[in-house]
């Protein structure tokens, strides 16, 4: 598990305004045969990004040079379906550091937090507004402050608080690792086992 820190981020956005984008779209199963965590970004959104014959699909947002940035602005119920962490690895490897939606699937949310990719939940209304702003002006920037838990649209000044589990927040701010944390509790785990077997 890589130790990734996250504190603040100001960036333009890449919009993907579809609902129910599942992890099979993020990274199709046929690209899951690798045994390391690296390189999945090349196949991020593979079947939307490339045509049947392997050429770049100019209609897809990742191939549109107008839209760049480290923040992926998605639609409702992002990351549903398969538990494959490869989906998060692909998004991170491509260069995104935060994903914004009004609703994330549970497993995707956990996987993102475990890899330093910050999932930010905002209201449906604000998400709609943000998508409209980005379409109108691809240079629209957002600012994320994890310590203060604020998400701000720079041009309009819209600023909201977002939720995050305090433990996970601390891990991201300090670059702490779950496994080190759990390993420090080994005696507690052993005594739990001993009690259970009595």
């Amino acid at each position: 598990m890589p130790k990734v820190k996250f504190d603040t981020l100001e960036s333009t956005c890449v919009p993907l305004p579809f609902e129910n984008v599942d992890t099979d779209q993020i990274i199709p199963a046929r690209f899951l045969s690798a045994t390391s965590r690296q390189g999945f970004g090349d196949n991020l959104f593979r079947d939307w990004r490339y045509t049947k014959t392997g050429e770049k699909n100019s209609d897809f947002v990742l191939n549109n040079p107008d839209f760049t940035g480290k923040v992926l602005v998605a639609g409702k119920n992002f990351g549903s379906g398969s538990s494959r962490e490869h989906a998060v690895w692909a998004i991170f490897d491509y260069g995104f550091r935060a994903v914004v939606s009004s609703f994330f699937a549970d497993i995707f949310m956990n996987n993102a937090l475990n890899n330093g990719l910050l999932p930010i939940v905002i209201s449906d209304d604000l998400l709609k507004k943000l998508h409209a702003l980005i379409q109108k002006n691809p240079d629209t920037k957002v600012k994320i402050d994890l310590e203060k838990q604020t998400f701000t649209i720079v041009s309009t000044g819209d600023s909201v608080n977002f939720g995050i589990n305090p433990y996970k927040k601390e891990c991201l701010l300090k670059g702490l690792d779950d496994i080190d944390f759990l390993l420090s509790m080994k005696s507690l785990i052993t005594s739990y086992e001993n009690n259970k077997s009595k």
């Binding site: 129910n20 099979d24 779209q25």
Partner: protein, 474 residues
């Protein structure tokens, strides 16, 4: 003391430590692993230089990335072969029991776990696979995890997890003929949507659930994730104990009777309160089919595709995109629509009961010429049972070839792909774009509906065949 749900009881008894404002440290009784989501976790252990804390609690199989033909030969795809070999090496190095490729008990992780007695009531179970919810049919807390969490469990036998909210879905009433547990769960998902249970752990209850076999219960719990739920469970009862009683030897259980007495306590307290309580009438359920690209886009097989996804308001861009992908139009009827492929198998419908159901309709008939069928047992044991019951012969004489076990066309990691633009009636769990191959169009359905389609070559109401049979009997 507050009344507790069954979920609360199992969860609370597995909390090693509660972190203030944080997740719980949850102890895991059973960890299943497979070749696709484990290699990076083992790499992590190597980098840290630490062992697997409790290798005896992890069980491994190769299922996702293996061929379903000529399994005795080396896997042709080099990346796939490498992944399966890594699993073999890792299991050997860390002392983990492996039911790998060509093992006589090999099969899909969520099929072999229960059939070999590794899934037992009251357990906490995780696996790097979202369909781990299957095991909830035995009254367990079972859910899918990511690879970082697989590493966590290998290293510490624990996982950091926030406790989900609780939802009860009660189903009363009697099921009509031709309606299976697959239709039940597809009906529920179509009613509450593919994200209707996100953040919740579901308990299924009611007379229409308790009358089901273990295989049918597994199908329902399996698809909990398709409504967004963290998992789904069913309280253990006599059906559960009878199933377990038939397993020749259950690892770690010496006296089944005394275990059963303990397991009988795994029930909701009578006045337990759920965060959400939903009720459905089983009598209203018809054979179901999906028309879109998420499992929430389902309808009764004789229905028409809705005009919109928003109560008569303008259809969303996602809805239109989805129907375009499928080559369908709003308001269209699907009955009679020609199809190209039929797939029966997967952790959803790859058990013996499913192949018996399929056989019920194909018996004495012939596969339609326009259909390519993929018939894939969920495990070696299912394959053996099929042979013993004469089903493999029956399938052959109806023009179907039975493959070797694996996940196969459910996620199409191997060569069992549905070609671009082709329609497949599939007993699997996901109709996502490209799930069964790039451009493939998936229609989820029960084994009965798949069988009816395989015989006619078109989307067909399975009740046509069921009625016919009844008439013959009379």
């Amino acid at each position: 003391m507050n009344a507790k749900t069954l979920f609360d009881k199992i969860w609370d008894s597995h909390v090693v430590r509660s972190i203030k404002d944080g997740p719980d440290v949850l102890y895991i009784d059973r960890h299943y692993i497979h070749e696709v989501t484990s290699p990076q976790a083992f790499n992590g252990l190597k980098e840290r230089g630490i062992p697997v804390l409790r290798p005896g609690k992890t069980i491994a199989t190769a299922d996702h990335n293996i061929p379903t033909k000529d399994q005795h030969l080396a896997i042709r795809d080099l990346l796939s072969r490498n992944q399966v070999e890594r699993l073999n090496e890792n299991c050997q190095k860390y002392g983990i029991e492996l039911f790998g490729l060509n093992h006589p008990k090999n099969g899909i992780v969520h099929v072999i776990g229960p059939e070999l007695g590794y899934t037992l009531p009251g357990m906490t179970i995780v696996c790097g696979d979202s369909h781990t919810s299957t095991h909830g049919a035995f009254g367990t807390i079972a859910f899918g995890i990511g690879t970082s969490e697989v590493e966590m469990v290998l290293a510490t036998q624990c996982i950091l997890q926030p406790k989900p909210k609780s939802m009860r879905i009660t189903l009363e009433g009697e099921l009509h003929k031709g309606v299976t547990s697959k239709d039940i769960v597809m009906y529920i998902i179509s009613r509450i949507s593919a994200s209707g249970a996100t953040g919740y752990f579901v308990e299924y209850a009611g007379s229409a659930i308790s009358s089901l076999s273990m295989e049918s219960r597994m199908t329902i719990c399996n698809m909990s994730i398709e409504m967004g739920a963290r998992g789904g469970l069913i309280a253990p009862d006599e059906t559960t104990f009878e199933y377990l009683g038939k397993i020749p030897s259950i690892p770690g259980i010496e006296n089944l009777k005394s275990s059963v007495n303990e397991w009988k306590k795994l029930q909701d307290d009578p006045d337990a309160i759920f965060d959400k309580d939903l009720k459905f009438d089983a009598g209203l359920i018809k054979p179901m089919i999906t028309y879109g690209t998420n499992p929430g886009m389902g309808m009764a097989i004789d229905d028409s595709i809705p005009l919109s996804d928003d109560n008569g308001n303008k259809a969303s861009a996602s809805f239109i995109k989805s129907l375009d992908y499928m080559g369908f139009k709003p308001g269209m009827k699907l009955l009679g629509h020609p199809i190209d492929y039929v797939f029966i198998g997967s952790c959803t419908n790859g058990r013996i009961e499913d192949f018996r159901a399929f056989a019920k309709i194909i018996k004495g008939r012939k596969k339609a010429d326009n259909i390519t069928a993929l018939i894939v047992p969920g495990s070696k044991k299912v394959e053996e049972q099929m042979a013993a019951e004469g089903l493999i012969e029956l399938y052959k004489s109806a023009g179907f070839e039975v493959r070797q076990p694996g996940c196969s066309s459910c996620l199409a990691m191997n060569e069992d792909k549905i070609p671009q633009g082709k329609y497949a009636v599939s007993t699997s769990n996901r109709n996502f774009e490209g799930r069964q191959g790039p451009g493939a169009r998936t229609l989820l359905a029960s084994p009965l509906t798949a069988a009816a389609a395989a015989i006619t070559g078109r989307i067909t109401d399975p009740r046509e065949f069921i009625t016919e049979e009844q008439k013959v009997k009379k």
